[in-house]
Symmetry: C2
Subunit: 417 residues, 2 copies
């Protein structure tokens, strides 16, 4: 970011005029006390924007939030973890609508002003009987603290809540952007898999906000991958309430560009946090593809390398295996020439012109032994670049994802299946 900003405490509650709350319903397991239902609310009307999974199988809350955004600007978000409300048919739509209605009424909003998000197991009905008794508490607990309750309530297999907030000067006014995210599994580009909520007290029209959000998502969440699986529930929702009392930013102005740069920084920070906290991840790897003929070629190469099970296994093992990287470059369907490809690992040449270099293997191994490192793949064919953020694939990831039977057993106990 080329203009000054400061990190501040908190997440979605940090910008002015946003209230948050979260309660414990026991959605996944009634025996466990943990926050699993959250509410974000703006005291004043907002401009709003969202991006959603491109999976053709969309969870009910995705369909409902998309419909609401088409009709109205959102002013509140209700979100739960523990059940994705995906592959749940008409009942799922009914349940997602009911969640919106339940908070719209006490907040004095229309149903269309509520966004709804769910994350968790796919294919089991929502245990609404454990959510319904908690709406009152959810609304009454709304507070002007920093939003950490929301960040905590939306996580699933994440090991920690992930949030960030910044403040910066925008045309002489102090403005804040805050966000939180949940990730961990089913993380793949094209709408990266997760829930992300971002709030700001900047003042800008909805169409400017929408354009900024699309561009910033493309350069952040769409550039990460953990397991290559695209979720049914991916959602990014952004609310801008203008509570900083700045005048509205004009479209295309330099202030608009500054705001976009700040939003980009926040999204990229959250996107990287998702990879770092990926399921059983031990390595955070930045893959820079350079010198491709086209943007699309660069992207294809980055995605092939970042999704290769063999490449990711070698990262897990601390093996600077440039041969596997080059083999993935080769099957990416991008136009590449083997004899032109250079691969640098942590700034050290591992492969030049498609061939092994004389860089001592111990030096390369020292780079890949670190928890974070960088790989530059130079195709030497043109000027197009692309960067992706990826992780290793660990035996523990597979172990962790072997069975969701416990979810089903609970749904059975609940009489839902």
């Amino acid at each position: 970011m080329d203009f000054p900003f400061s990190r501040i405490k908190g997440g979605v509650g940090a910008p002015k005029g946003f209230l948050t709350s979260a309660v414990s319903c026991g959605i996944k397991n009634p025996a466990v006390e943990r926050l699993d239902l959250a509410l974000v609310y703006s005291e004043t009307p907002c401009a709003s924007a969202g991006t959603f999974t491109t999976n053709r199988v969309k969870a009910a809350p995705v369909k409902v939030s998309q419909a609401h955004l088409r009709k109205d600007d959102l002013r509140a978000i209700i979100a739960n973890s523990g059940n994705a409300n995906a592959c749940t048919g008409v009942q799922g739509i009914h349940d997602a609508n009911a969640m919106c209605d339940a908070v719209a009424k006490p907040l004095g909003l229309k149903r269309n002003e509520i966004g709804v998000c769910s994350t968790g197991v796919i294919g089991l009905p929502m245990p609404m009987m454990r959510i319904e008794p908690k709406y009152g508490e959810l609304v009454s607990k709304l507070n002007a603290k920093n939003g950490a309750d929301v960040a905590a309530a939306i996580i699933t297999s994440d090991t920690r809540p992930k949030e960030v907030a910044i403040s910066f000067d925008l045309g002489g006014h102090r403005v804040r952007i805050g966000g939180c995210v949940k990730g961990a599994g089913m993380i793949s580009p094209s709408m990266a898999t997760m829930l992300c909520f971002i709030t700001t007290d900047a003042n800008l029209p909805s169409d400017s906000l929408r354009k900024s959000v699309l561009e910033c998502v493309e350069n952040s969440f769409n550039r990460i991958t953990i397991d290559g699986d695209m979720s049914t529930n991916d959602t990014v929702l952004v609310l801008a309430n203008g509570a900083s009392e700045m005048p509205s930013i004009r479209r295309g102005s330099s202030l608009c560009k500054q705001f976009r740069a700040a939003l980009q920084w926040v999204m990229l920070e959250l996107a990287k946090a998702v990879v770092r906290d990926g399921e059983r991840v031990t390595k955070f790897v930045t893959v820079d593809v350079k010198g491709a003929r086209t943007y699309l070629d660069a992207k294809k190469v980055a995605e092939a390398v970042c999704k290769s099970a063999l490449v990711k296994s070698s990262w897990n093992g601390g093996d600077p295996n440039w041969g596997r990287i080059l083999h993935a470059v080769g099957y990416s369907r991008a136009r590449i020439r083997e004899e032109l490809v250079d691969i640098h690992i942590g700034g050290k040449a591992a492969c030049l012109g498609g061939l092994q270099t004389t860089t001592p293997m111990d030096e390369l191994r020292a780079v890949v032994a670190e928890p974070e490192f960088n790989i530059v793949i130079s195709l030497n064919q043109g000027d197009a670049d692309y960067t992706m953020y990826s992780s290793d694939l660990s035996p523990e990831y597979i172990d962790f994802n072997r069975s969701e039977y416990a979810y089903w057993k609970q749904a059975r106990k609940d009489g839902l299946v």
Copy 2:
């Protein structure tokens, strides 16, 4: 196959007029005695055909074999395991040519009549100094046994040699087809990753053989996946020497169709054997996609499901997780409608119209607990079908693929890097 045939003993050595041999060079590790250099030779001229990896990074032997096939029909194949001779530049081409020359001379063949294949680690030069002393022994050991020596010499991380041979009546003449294959890792469609050699004493023109091979590969090796990684070395070579003394099969005749059906059966049998012996595989899963709008849509769905890390993890855990299957169907980019999708696991309905069924979970779990089972995904949108053969993904696969450092250390010891 709709005409009678019998399985017979052996593999590439089973058809008449083919001689085979294999020797131990210590290519991967000079301290270990194991067959790693093989030769297949036809006593008479052959029709020949091949298919190769579509990876843009092609190993030197792939480039050399492709060039030879364009110029001439092959009559012999030399193949090694322990080093892929991939990403080895001009030296790699030189080494692959040298391997051809070394056997062409004593066999009285032109270099162009030799196919050459390598499999093993990528990016390290071939230890030719350990191969060169063995050419004499390789040629002198040629024998008319069944070819098991070749099947044994080409395997790498495979747990067992894989070969099959059949004999059948073709227009009143007894004809044989034999084949062997190596697979295990880097297995993904579009030219499935492996080496496969097939011999037959049927008599048919090269153009007919080529057409048959292309079609049969599309319906066998291109339909399997283990880890989704496409190798740099994939090769299928087929030699037909006519030694059964039958008259040449006419193009498009019913005999030609019978031959193709037999070849198809042999290739599919070998392809399935590759999946069953995939690296640390515990499940063999047949995925039938039915009722797609187009062949391509059916294929996209099958590939998305068969390559999903999350789906494969659930198979490893014996979890009949239809929700994850449906989420992969959704991101396949095929035109599907969630509410029309049915999923049957081992013949039992797990999901109908996109929703969970009342089939007892214990029944579905019993199916997925088996080492082999079948999943039918009915899209209910058209008439196009596609079948793929896949495996689970195990924690042990990742463990197994964490490091190839031992290869590098040996190459270092050899003074090659």
